[in-house]
């Protein structure tokens, strides 16, 4: 069986629709690009100023002037383009990004997200995350379900928020969970996971979907 991060990346990839514009966060979310079905055409946006992000180049094709939002050397597919940071965030805030996939330190039953600061410990800054979460039409959190046994899906986030009530869907190695006005709805179970496994690793209460299935 795949490792947990690969399980998550493969499941998230199924969320992305043909013709959509997508921004992937740094780390695990970046892996999603490797698993998009061949008949699905997705245009990837990178907030440092490009559309048409392609695969990681081999040594021979590396270009230090062409980087992604994580500072890594990347490629730009035919039809892609470059622009300044104002254009980039007009694309993001203006509702032109169909989906963003990003990690979380905490996410809660109201769809609040915390992923930019652990006061006194880790203060990397929000970068473009606050704009992305507010602006993207569909906000997907992709993360390992719990941190060393400690739940990350909570009744209420305790860390400083990245945005309020913006998360639509949470995808982990154990579950696919939707944020709804009624609360968190467990839609799918990860390979070999049980409802008990998921609830045990989740602080917030879960509403079990009537058509619950394994992904």
């Amino acid at each position: 069986m795949d490792d947990p991060k690969t399980i998550i990346a493969k499941r998230v990839a199924q969320e992305l629709k043909n013709g959509s514009v997508v921004n992937l966060g740094i780390g695990l979310p970046t892996m999603v690009a490797n698993y998009i079905p061949e008949d699905v055409h997705v245009t990837f946006q990178s907030e440092n100023g490009m559309l048409g992000l392609g695969p990681t180049p081999d040594k021979e094709h590396e270009n230090p002037l062409l980087t992604n939002a994580g500072g890594m050397m990347v490629t730009c597919l035919t039809g892609g383009c470059y622009f300044d940071s104002c254009m980039s965030f007009s694309i993001i805030r203006g509702g032109h990004v169909d989906a963003t996939v990003l990690g979380a330190l905490q996410v809660d039953r109201y769809g609040n997200l915390a992923n930019w600061k652990v006061p006194g410990k880790l203060v990397p800054g929000m970068g473009g995350a606050m704009d992305l979460v507010v602006g993207a039409r569909n906000v997907i959190v992709a993360m390992i379900h719990a941190q060393k046994g400690e739940p990350k899906i909570l009744n209420e986030c305790t860390l400083p928020l990245t945005a309020k009530a913006q998360v639509n869907r949470i995808i982990t190695e154990l579950a696919v969970i939707d944020v709804t006005p009624e609360g968190l709805v467990l839609r799918e179970l990860g390979p070999n996971a049980t409802v008990e496994d998921v609830q045990k690793a989740t602080e917030a209460p879960l509403i079990i979907s009537e058509d619950l299935k394994h992904f």
Partner: protein, 217 residues
Amino acid sequence: MNKTVTIEQAISKIQDGMTVMIGGFLGNGSPERLIDKLVEKGVKDLTLICNDTAFPDKGTGKMITAKQFKKIIVSHIGTNAETGRQMNAGELEVDLVPQGTLAERVRCGGSGLGGVLTPTGIGTEVEEGKQKINVNGKDYLLEVPLRADVALVYGSVVDTFGNIKYTYTQRNFNPMMAMAADYVICEADTIVEVGDLDQNEVMTPGIFIDCIVGGAQ
């Protein structure tokens, strides 16, 4: 009109305590030669406006390493541990601004606008101390303009009047910063004569640029 000068002439106006904007995103599109010269000059107590503090040996990170800032206004410091160390030690004031908001505040500073209304940061600590304005039933934060004494920008091909063409992802904050400072220095990878740059490819008009350094010099 030829605006090319020596790098020493270009940075002679930069003094202790000034506010400087520096283009670049994690160092890509940053004017590295100007940064190196400022490290050499040793100006201090500067306020930096930049997307990030890059890496300890790249971009504005080199000036962090040389402890030349008293305050920085940036969206991200996570790639440079020294920035975090100086912040935690109380040596450096860090004002973290969402990236899209930072870009718009710089644009406002150069565009004669009194600010911008953005939904970014609503319901987070970013909204603290800011005016909230409701437009057609939706809340926005009023984010005010940013300007600087000096902007240091980078262009790939620059003519001697200052018309700039950028390449790849080096554009980022450079076009907005070129408009938002009292004195604007452009470092060029290649300097060409006026007329050699296709007018259709000019991305930043030369009128914003006060002096140009770099090229083959």
